[in-house]
């Protein structure tokens, strides 16, 4: 562990240490006070189920059922903790690894796999879940998120003190912080007081490029240059992640402007199923982070409190197993959508040009012997 820089513990907010012992924090401790045992158990349950789903999806890729899969293993605390701090009036712009956040927003997990089976670009209604479609271009969505947040402010959905107040939460990784788009988004958000929380999951790798090749300083320190209040949190501590997100959302929803959160975590799995992390990181590092597993940490805490009864463990295990089975069956049952459906959501309203292109494309497709197979 480095003493300084993007991989150090500099300024980390932590409310649960790696053994599961509860800590306090002068600024953020209060935001976690509302987390009673039942809510902590719910977060543990979600993390467990999401991880099981993640493993199942990896297996499905290895069995040729998915073209690609991006594991989020190790990042569950950052995702479930921040997800639990949101309310329906908030709106999320995820990157492509936010399966845990998707789960907290009510997206049925198997639906995510339509993208990774190559069937659709997105399979949920973003408006219904307050959860935008995945963006695969690194950092590109940070500008859309900022624009959406500015629009929320203009729609009067910020700073009224009502439950309708909301904010945007935009997720991206350490690598994205080097992108021009993200820096532009921070600039726009800051000068416009946009109600947005930039949530960086620093999982230490931009595919294989370490965070030390992205920054000299902890990523959270970048916020200061834009005039954006920033906080650095232990990304494997679900309680701290909840607390800082709760604070950040209250700040943004009140109309006080954007916030930058850096959740310092570790990507346990490969970047994607096409990647081999053994080529660029050591077993020693993996062992170090295995001792800091976010689920094990909360589990130890709940057991210490005597708040993790066997029924809860069994319920999570059986739900995980059932989700795995359902995921497997659901994925295999999917038919290819008609290729013409790619035109469906270009515009919200009927559009002449799109209609003409759709008609032409239908004719073109019919000119092939193997209609529809290469959808």
């Amino acid at each position: 562990m480095d003493a300084h820089g993007p991989l150090s513990e500099e300024g980390l907010v932590r409310l649960l240490d790696r053994t599961g012992a509860r800590l306090d924090h002068p600024d953020f401790g209060a935001y976690a006070a509302e987390l009673d045992a039942a809510r902590l158990r719910a977060m543990w349950h979600d993390m467990t189920v999401v991880r099981a789903f993640d493993r199942e999806a990896t297996s499905l890729q290895r069995q040729g059922e998915l073209g690609l899969w991006v594991e989020a293993v190790g990042q569950e605390a950052a995702q479930i903790g921040s997800g639990h701090a949101m309310r329906p009036s908030d709106f999320v712009f995820p990157s492509y690894r936010e399966h845990g956040v998707a789960h907290t927003r009510g997206v049925d997990l198997p639906e995510i796999l339509r993208i990774f089976r190559g069937l659709q670009h997105g399979a949920w209604d973003p408006a219904a879940h307050g959860f935008h479609l995945y963006t695969l271009v690194i950092g590109a969505h940070s500008l859309h998120a900022t624009g959406y947040a500015m629009a929320m402010a203009r729609d009067g959905l910020v700073g009224t003190g009502q439950d309708t107040d909301g904010a945007v939460v935009c997720y991206f990784g350490d690598g994205a912080t080097s992108q021009g788009d993200v820096n532009e988004a921070l600039t726009f958000a800051a000068v416009n007081d946009a109600p947005i929380v930039f949530f960086v999951q620093n999982n230490q790798f931009a595919i294989s490029e370490p965070a030390t090749r992205q920054s000299r300083v902890p990523l959270a320190q970048r916020g200061a240059g834009f005039g954006v209040p920033s906080v650095r949190v232990d990304g494997n501590d679900v309680i701290a992640c909840y607390a800082v997100t709760q604070w950040a959302l209250q700040h943004a929803r009140s109309g006080a402007g954007p916030v930058l959160i850096e959740a310092f975590t570790y990507r346990v799995g490969a970047h994607t199923t096409s990647d081999d992390p053994t080529r660029y990181r050591s077993h020693a590092d993996e062992a170090y982070w295995a001792e800091r597993d976010p689920i094990a940490r909360l589990e130890a805490h709940l057991r210490e409190l005597g708040e993790l009864p066997d029924e809860a463990v069994e319920a999570a295990a059986s739900e995980a197993k059932e989700l795995g089975r359902r995921t497997r069956e659901t994925v295999k049952s999917w038919e290819r959508p008609a290729v013409e459906t790619m035109f469906d959501h270009v515009y919200a309203e009927p559009h002449g040009t799109v209609a003409a292109e759709r008609a032409w494309f239908s004719r073109y497709e019919r000119s092939f012997v193997d209609q529809g197979v290469h959808a």
Partner: protein, 462 residues
């Protein structure tokens, strides 16, 4: 009623085409469940463990450790419960349930093999977003209705009945080129043994006895093998024959060809040939009518330089060339070649004769350098020596005109108002009608004929 399921090698990365089997974690007869470790494979990217896709029993491993297996190839066969919706087959036969998308039966009459991508390349293409590229030959053009499609059940389909054989025996069969499903098993319980495979390989090589070599009096049968009970011989298409076929197909089906014809009195050319043969300066070269027609074509190109061009489809541009690399079709022991004379437009008649002589000699000796085959701009095919009047030549790809030069015969001809016996020949010019209009083609051919009829005209135009 048992049913079977075959697991195919998945693409464990994006755009990978093959993987090596490193270690099997299961063996035939093992009871397995979903997601237990099945096999470890090594791809171009990493070592990957594949989890088991089914609950059931391993019937057989179809590939051995150490084998390199193409993505999509069957690697293991399971017996699964008969509950699966699409696994039961009447009569208890098994089914191969492929995770790779299968191609539905096309509703068209003409069904032929899929056409390969027309861009012939031996290089691997890098056309994937992430990954190490796709291996050569894996790109296939999607068939159109007027085209064709591989019929269902073509390449890659496996027999419904499991063949029993140990992995090393399967490997041997592959090495010997023996299709293991065709081998008669002699081992216990219908097991195909090593001896069975060797026997099958021997039997097959006995049948292929009729192999021809170059010393045979029928050289075109070289490297062929007997077929149809000896009533025919099949010769693999390769080398010059293969390239000729590709070039002709490419040319014939991209450039719309038009051919114009012209019959000319070339008596003056024959007189000139006779005079040059006697000329002391031309004693070291072979003077033939081909030399004069080559010069005539060069003069015609000089008067109509726009014929000396090529069509660049990709750039949507016409490339007009300010030099002439004159191709001359030559029949060689290897087959038809069209070597060209570089910058032929600069050569005086004697040098042109030298170059034609060298080009012909090299072609006859099979020593045509590759450089001589590239970069031609316009060509001549000399069919006259074969006694043929003329033909409709196909363009050398990348060129826009080719002149066919027919036999020169003594024929009755109206000359200065009377029927005389004159030397007469037929000329034909094929051109690419995308960039050469009929008028231009006609003018070029007429000019060639004019010089042949009256070589002195060359002085005027030269």
């Amino acid at each position: 009623m048992p049913s079977f399921e075959t697991f195919h090698m998945p693409d464990a990365g994006e755009g990978l085409t093959e993987a090596d089997v490193v270690t099997w974690r299961v063996a035939a007869g093992d009871t397995v469940e979903v997601n237990q470790p099945l096999v470890e494979i090594e791809t171009a990217k990493s070592l990957v463990e594949l989890p088991c896709p089914v609950d059931g029993v391993v019937v057989e491993l179809l590939v051995a450790e150490g084998d390199t297996v193409e993505v999509g190839a069957p690697i293991v066969r399971f017996q699964v419960d008969g509950d699966g919706p699409d696994l039961d087959v009447p009569g208890g036969a098994s089914t191969a349930d492929a995770p790779v998308p299968s191609v539905p039966t096309p509703e068209v009459d003409a069904v032929e093999a899929m056409e390969p991508d027309p861009a012939p390349t031996d290089e691997a293409s890098g056309a994937v977003l992430v990954g190490y590229g796709v291996s050569a030959g894996s790109a296939q053009r999607r068939p159109r209705k007027e085209g064709a499609l591989d019929p269902i059940g073509g390449a890659g389909e496996v027999s419904d009945y499991p063949v029993l054989a140990k992995p090393p025996v399967r490997k041997l069969a592959r090495e010997l080129g023996v299709e293991i499903t065709t081998v008669t098993p002699s081992g216990p319980g219908g097991l195909v043994t090593r001896e069975d495979v060797e026997q099958a390989a021997k039997a097959r090589s006995t049948r292929a006895l009729t192999t021809y070599d170059a010393n045979d009096d029928q050289p075109w049968l070289e490297s062929g093998y007997s077929a149809d009970g000896g009533r025919s011989t099949r010769v693999p298409v390769k080398s010059v024959r293969k390239r000729t076929a590709e070039a002709m197909v490419k040319s014939a089906f991209t450039a719309p060809h038009v051919t114009v014809f012209h019959t000319a009195d070339v008596t003056a050319t024959m007189d000139l040939v006779k005079r040059l043969k006697a000329d002391r300066d031309f004693q070291d070269v072979r003077v033939t009518p081909l030399l004069i027609v080559a010069k005539a074509l060069l003069l015609a190109v000089r008067r109509h330089p726009e014929i000396n061009a090529s069509w660049d489809d990709e750039a949507r541009e016409i490339v007009y060339k300010h030099y002439v690399n004159l191709g001359i079709a030559a029949s060689t022991p290897r087959g038809l070649l069209v070597p060209n004379i570089k910058d032929a437009h600069r050569l005086p008649l004697h040098e042109l004769a030298l170059e034609i002589g060298e080009l012909t000699a090299l072609a006859r000796e099979n020593r045509t350098p590759p450089g001589a085959l590239a970069g031609g701009t316009i060509s001549i095919t000399n069919v006259g020596p074969l006694g043929i009047d003329t033909g409709t030549p196909i363009l050398n790809p990348g060129e826009s005109a080719i002149l066919a030069f027919g036999a020169i015969r003594e024929q009755p001809w109206v000359h200065e108002g009377e029927i005389k016996i004159r030397w007469v020949t037929q000329l034909a010019l094929s051109f690419d009608h995308r960039l050469v209009d009929g008028e231009l083609g006609a003018r070029v051919l007429a000019d060639v004929g004019r010089v042949m009829s009256d070589p002195a005209q060359g002085l005027v135009w030269g």
